[in-house]
Amino acid sequence: MLKINCPICGNRDETEFSCGGEAHIARPIADNKLTDTAFSEYLFMRDNPKGVFLERWCHTSGCRRWFNLARDTISHEIIEIYPMGQTPKTAKGKKAYQANWRRKSKAEAASKPAKRTVK
């Protein structure tokens, strides 16, 4: 049983939460220009590390807010809880973020807004 410290409601049992799976999967913007392989990476392929995993959780039975969580999949230790839209701050969390194959994937590269020049 995990005890999860919801950023809004405080420490609660895991039964109050839903796990939303891998965090930081950016949706490609020009998905019609992606290859099937790259789109499949976005849609189906998942990071599944034995060690620190960055995932999304929702406090379904409480405030219903989403947040990110860095957790060890062997010891279940919760290393860090941080807001949506941000990346981890702890050393272990940062390492897990950088080690994810997605950081080098075509799908993620295609998800960043193209730089526009303002005339």
Binding site: M1, L2, D13, E14, T15, S18, C19, G21, D36, T37, F39, S40, E41, L43, F44, M45, R46, D47, N48, P49, K50, F53, E55, R71, T73, I74, S75, H76, W101
Partner: protein, 432 residues
């Protein structure tokens, strides 16, 4: 579907002196069972093999056995990190059935069931396959409708499946509570009479003994630490017992598939989750069939030792800890006690979790990869045990010929690019 000319690979243990039989039992009884021969050799890794199977569970050992017996590849090895059958092979609830909905699933699961029906004879090892029937019960109008659709699809594939009313269920299983006012009322069910259970350890041991007899090296306590390749071709594996050269590697490691795939920089759509089960203290025979409920994630049977074997659902988050979270069995036991009130006074004897490799469409991956000579057999999720012989049979064929046969073809990794998914969430028994 047609496999009338199915090659079962029953070529091992042809020497009478090595076979188990009533005579060998009598002979060994005379010497107080002190002189039984070793079931398989202790093998140290050779420098090179024609193929290596990573993972000494049921699927891996079956793959090695069929590679040796059907395809004549006897210079091969099975590499196991721990001990044989110590992973999910020894951590499941041993249910065997082939009542899945889609044609592709009928192909693989029925293929497996046909092999199960003769497996003890083929391996000369009693795997205690017991066709006691698998009865899936439903608890709502919608489930009833979904069930009849599935039953008709199953029957069109030539697989036995019968719809039962609550009264017929009560007749078969007198201990079940069919009262309409319980939390999960029994509204109907369907039965696969050819389904049942087998002894999980015996499956691993039987395949190991038969594979060993054909010359396969079974190497335990040997962890794979890396996959070596030269360009797009696999050249060998790094292990805790040194480098092993081989042109073909079959990965059959269930929950650890993503860990191996990472070594080869291959992406898999797999999430590793704990799947839990528990047994009660042993009691006298009371349940002679298997009951499953998809809606409450409960499945129950009685082992030959008398323990009630209860399986629960998967945990909701990824984990490699072989234990699982308490609320999952708690929910299952609540439903089980409602359906079988006699369970309420039984004590739990053991609880355990296995790390299952769940796939987005609840169907397995039996596939080549972009690296030549590297094959994956994974993604069986919560339903791997039942398919052990079929999985090994088609995976051996894939490795030997470097092309999938008609049964394995739909299970390619490419289906996540083409969109040709085989959605078996309804038949998988446990939500993924």
């Amino acid at each position: 579907m047609a496999n009338t000319d199915l090659d079962r690979g029953s070529r091992a243990l042809t020497q009478k002196s090595k076979r188990y039989s009533i005579f060998s039992l009598a002979r060994n009884a005379a010497s107080y069972h002190q002189n039984w021969q070793q079931a398989w050799r202790h093998a140290d890794p050779k420098p090179a093999y024609d193929a290596v199977i990573i993972g000494g569970g049921g699927h891996g050992l079956a793959s090695a056995y069929y590679l040796a017996s059907i395809h004549g590849m006897t210079n091969i090895a099975v590499i196991e990190k721990g001990w044989l059958g110590g992973g999910n092979t020894g951590r499941n609830t041993t249910i065997i059935r082939s009542n899945y909905m889609w044609d592709e699933s009928a192909g693989i699961y029925e293929h497996a069931l046909k092999l199960w029906e003769r497996l003890s004879q083929d391996l000369n090892f009693n795997v205690m396959f017991s066709q006691r029937g698998v009865l899936t019960i439903t608890h709502s109008e919608h489930e009833l409708k979904g069930m009849s659709r599935r039953v008709h699809a199953i029957r069109l594939n030539g697989i036995d499946s019968d719809i039962l009313t609550p009264a017929e269920i009560k007749k078969r299983v007198p201990t079940i509570n069919i009262s309409p006012d319980i939390r999960y009322p029994v509204m109907g069910g369907f039965l696969q009479k050819r389904g049942g259970t087998a002894r999980h350890d015996a499956v691993a041991w039987g395949y190991a003994r038969a594979a060993d007899d054909l010359g396969v090296d079974i190497i335990q306590n040997c962890e794979v630490t890396g996959l070596r390749r030269n360009g797009g071709q696999i050249t060998g594996i790094e292990t805790s017992k040194g480098f092993i050269k081989t042109p073909k590697v079959g990965c059959v490691v269930a929950g650890h598939s993503s860990v191996l795939a990472d070594m080869a920089n291959i992406r898999l759509p797999i999430a590793s989750r704990p799947l839990q089960a528990l047994v009660s203290e042993p009691i006298k025979p009371i349940l002679d069939t298997v009951i499953m409920s998809n809606a409450v994630h409960m499945y129950i049977s009685q082992s030959d030792k008398g323990e009630m074997v209860l399986g629960a659902g998967v945990d909701k988050y990824n984990s490699y800890a072989q234990t699982g979270s308490w609320p999952v069995p708690e929910h299952m036991v609540a439903a089980a006690v409602d359906l079988f009130p006699f369970l309420s006074r039984l004590r739990m004897l053991r609880q355990w979790g296995g790390i299952v490799d769940t796939c987005p469409d609840a169907s397995p991956i039996i596939s080549k990869t972009d690296i030549k000579g590297l094959y994956f057999n994974c993604g069986w999720g919560t339903g791997g045990f039942k398919s052990t012989p079929g999985s090994g049979h088609v995976f051996a064929d894939l490795i030997a010929h470097d092309r999938p046969n008609s049964i394995a073809l739909p299970y390619s990794l490419k289906r996540f690019e083409t969109g040709y998914l085989i959605d078996e969430h309804g038949a998988a028994g446990v939500a993924h």
